[in-house]
């Protein structure tokens, strides 16, 4: 039965090639755009290297010195994090690092400006970088302010001409500091805002003022929970620690509250994108907005498909009339039409998947965001499949219902008002 439905579907597709083209165009492009957007989302906040254990990680990157009328927003200082966040007990490990900076080096006469990050030794334990060779710098090296560094693969190639065998080579910055390479990691995409860099150095070798009592600075903290279930407990302890910090009234006379929150990768990114620095991280708003926009976006192509599908039914009204006259039930007709429609949607879906892969490939090559490797993985594929089926049903149900209600007598006479 199913096989004969599919055969009919295939014949119908071939008969009205223009309609088939319109349907496939709509389905495949809609799916392509949904997939590209989802792949970007997954690439930014999904579990990927170096944040593989994303369900156990908590981030804090913005401090707000707040009063109802005025607020100053910045990254927290090293000393603030060291004093109030480092001693937290619930997290397994706490890492403090700077935001993104840059370092300049000269290779021969060419100037290389590299994205750089100062980190502590815990940084390498909290995160899962893929080391091509060498190792991260150790607690002892950070404590001793040893001039050692970890670089990414591309930097190794740009500085030394090769990505292998560069351990122990010297890296000289423009202010004439000599660093020694101890590790090379695989490139981290720039979309991983909190861990991305091209060069990582021990935080003790920076000019960052450790003893400065000012709350605003240029640092961030990453916390690793022992288990995913510990996350709320960490957030509670974190909130208590922030509440214990005295208000910096010596600098900001108007301050009423110091606001600093620990959130998941998604929450932290959303906070920055939506400029939400209050107690509410805006993830719920972001999700509602995203779901609403996706639905709205899919509604227009779906309506278009419904329209086309109804035209197709009109085209086949005599066939349906005959089947009804011979006793086919409404349910059987609905079933047939839905099978046909899902078949068409699946075809469009395959095409869309291919188009999305091509588009992502183009995006990777365009260099819009450094070191991106957008791709279609299992999660993205799952989303694609769900979207395809949703789409097929959405655009098939109403025409199928109409089809089953077709008046056989009028349909057989070829009356255009049979519907």
């Amino acid at each position: 039965m199913l096989l004969s439905y599919l055969k009919i579907a295939w014949k119908v597709l071939l008969r009205r090639k223009f309609f088939t083209f319109i349907s496939l165009f709509g389905i495949s492009f809609t799916l392509m755009i949904l997939l590209v957007v989802y792949a970007m989302y997954d690439h930014t906040v999904g579990p990927h290297t170096p944040e593989k254990r994303v369900d156990r990680l908590l981030f804090t990157s913005t401090i707000s010195i707040w009063s109802p009328n005025t607020s100053n927003i910045s990254s927290p200082s090293y000393s603030f994090l060291e004093r109030y966040i480092r001693p937290l007990r619930t997290p397994e490990k706490v890492s403090i690092s700077t935001g993104r900076g840059s370092v300049v080096t000269y290779v021969g006469n060419t100037k290389l400006k590299l994205d750089q990050k100062y980190t502590d030794a815990e940084f390498w334990q909290v995160l899962d970088f893929e080391f091509i060779e060498g190792r991260p710098y150790s607690l002892a090296e950070v404590a001793a302010a040893a001039r050692v560094l970890v670089i990414n693969e591309s930097t190794a190639r740009n500085c030394f001409g090769t990505a292998r065998g560069v351990l122990g080579r010297a890296f000289v910055t423009d202010d004439n500091m000599h660093y020694r390479v101890v590790g090379v990691v695989r490139d981290v995409p720039a979309a991983r805002t909190y861990t991305y860099a091209e060069v990582w150095m021990p935080i003790t070798t920076s000019t960052e003022d450790i003893h400065n009592a000012e709350y605003m600075g240029s640092c961030m903290a990453i916390m690793l929970a022992r288990r995913p279930e510990d996350v709320p407990a960490i957030q509670r302890e974190f909130a208590q620690a922030v509440a214990r910090a005295p208000l910096p009234t010596n600098v900001y006379k108007w301050v009423k509250e110091v606001r600093l929150y620990a959130g998941t990768l998604l929450a932290t990114v959303v906070r920055e994108e939506l400029d939400e620095y209050g107690p509410n991280d805006g993830v719920a708003r972001f999700q509602q907005l995203g779901a609403g926009l996706a639905l709205l976006f899919m509604l227009l192509p779906a309506l278009n498909l419904v329209n086309i599908n109804i035209s197709r039914i009109l085209d086949r009204s005599s066939e349906i009339g005959v089947r009804k006259a011979f006793g086919a039930t409404g349910g059987a007709l609905i079933g047939q039409f839905l099978v046909e429609n899902v078949f068409l949607t699946l075809l469009g879906g395959l095409l869309g998947l291919a188009l999305a892969a091509g588009a992502l490939h183009l995006l990777n090559f365009s260099g819009l965001i450094a070191y991106t490797q957008f791709g279609i993985n299992g999660r993205v594929f799952g989303v694609a499949l769900t979207a395809i089926l949703f789409f097929g049903l959405l655009s098939g149900v109403y025409p199928a219902y109409k089809m089953s209600r077709l008046n056989p007598v009028k349909a057989l006479k070829g009356d255009q008002n049979a519907l």
Binding site: I33, T207, W254, L303, N307, D315
Partner: protein
């Protein structure tokens, strides 16, 4: 004729409801994307109020250096920069320099108690020389100068719209305004100062003076300087070296405002371009669908059209009827869409000027009519070509 068409479509409203909904949604999409484009185009066309080409920004990070010796070192650096022949003018400013992405928004009101409070005014701390660096033209009053050294109240220059909002119907010159509990005396007016960038909405601005005697590092830690047109990368390297000679252990970042502007434009425009691509796809999708449905309809109405032709209707009249019908269907969809779109300016959504929404509505309406007419053109020609004898024999 037109009334006749409306009756015809109204009688077939159940059959046309899907087309009407589709046109309604297409209009909403075009209206939203159009509003965004009109809004940004309007902002882009408003002058910035300052000159940014040939202006460089030097960011100095003193690291762990104690607070007390920072400003003296900064002054030495500035003296050295001023002595360079390629440099025209040098001035200190607060971190929210043009295109830097860092912004400030504070309430500014009349007097200390704060009447007529104006929210999110862009506040900048600047040195005297910044007028020359950024080529700021004054509308009224005067710029900061030596006379202000003796002033007990810090002097400020404000943008004209801020002056008009605070002191409606009178001159703001010489008046006292309050910001974050500090009193400031207005000494001059500028037309505008859009440090947020080309695509951001123009905000009122207040520029406050930093005198050479001020020693607070955080007030104005950034150097802006104007260079002669022949300045290049060699000058940048020389500056970097000479600054590091004076400020040992500091870190120095030199960028040009043009570079920062380009980076900011790219950041803002990338999502907009993506949105326009998506919108274009949706519109093409709708157009293809419309075309298909119309084509199908013509195939089905061959008999009716044949009869009309046999009764003496010209090919042109048939064509016009088909195009007219689809334009009427579009009108129904647009009427629904305009009802929704009108809510935006009426409710003042996003605090955007009503004119922006009005222009976007006009553009979207025009686009939809154009689109439907274009899609109907080929099917209408097809209909006009139907031969009455052939069509009627099929019956």
């Amino acid at each position: 004729m037109i009334r006749h068409l409306f009756t015809l479509i109204w009688n077939r409203r159940r059959a046309n409801i899907l087309l009407i909904t589709e046109i309604f949604l297409a209009f909403v999409v075009l209206f939203v994307v159009g509003s965004l484009l009109v809004y940004h185009a309007h902002n882009y066309r408003t002058p910035l109020g300052f000159g940014y080409t040939q202006v460089w920004r030097i960011n100095l990070d003193p690291g762990a250096l104690p607070e007390a010796s920072r400003v003296p070192t900064l002054r030495q650096v500035m003296a050295r920069l001023r002595a360079m022949p390629e440099v025209v003018a040098v001035g200190r400013a607060s971190g929210n320099t043009p295109f830097s992405g860092s912004t400030n928004g504070s309430d500014v009101g009349v007097g200390k108690e704060g009447n007529n409070i104006m929210g999110s005014v862009s506040g900048h701390l600047v040195e005297e020389d910044l007028r020359e660096v950024l080529e700021l033209p004054l509308v009224a009053g005067r710029w900061f100068d030596k006379r202000d050294d003796a002033a007990t109240v810090r002097p400020a220059v404000i943008s004209r719209d801020l002056g008009e909002a605070l002191f409606p119907g009178q001159s703001a010159l010489g008046k006292i305004v309050g910001r974050n509990g500090e009193e400031l005396r207005v000494v001059g007016l500028i037309e505008r100062f859009r440090a947020d960038g080309d695509l951001e909405e123009a905000r009122p601005a207040i520029l406050m003076r930093v005198s050479p005697q001020d020693t607070v590092w955080g007030e104005a830690p950034v150097i802006l300087l104007r260079v002669r047109p022949r300045a290049d990368a060699a000058l940048e390297r020389q500056m970097n070296r000479e600054i590091l000679n004076i400020a040992k252990g500091w870190s120095v970042g030199i960028t040009t405002l043009s570079e920062q502007r380009a980076a900011q434009l790219k950041r803002t425009l990338t999502p907009i371009v993506a949105l326009v691509i998506v919108c274009l796809f949706l519109v093409v999708n709708v157009a293809l669908g419309l075309f298909g449905v119309l084509w199908q309809t013509i195939q089905q109405r061959r008999a009716e059209i044949g009869v009309r032709r046999a009764m003496g209707a010209t090919a042109g009249a048939i064509s016009w009827q088909i195009v007219g019908e689809i334009l009427v269907v579009a009108t129904f969809g647009l009427a629904l869409g305009l009802l929704v779109a009108a809510q935006f300016p009426l409710l003042g959504v996003f605090n955007v000027q009503a004119g922006v929404y009005g222009t976007a509505m006009l553009l979207a309406v025009g686009m939809i009519y154009l689109l439907t007419a274009l899609c109907a053109l080929y099917p209408s020609r097809l209909a006009a070509g139907i031969h009455p004898a052939v069509a009627l024999r099929e019956e």
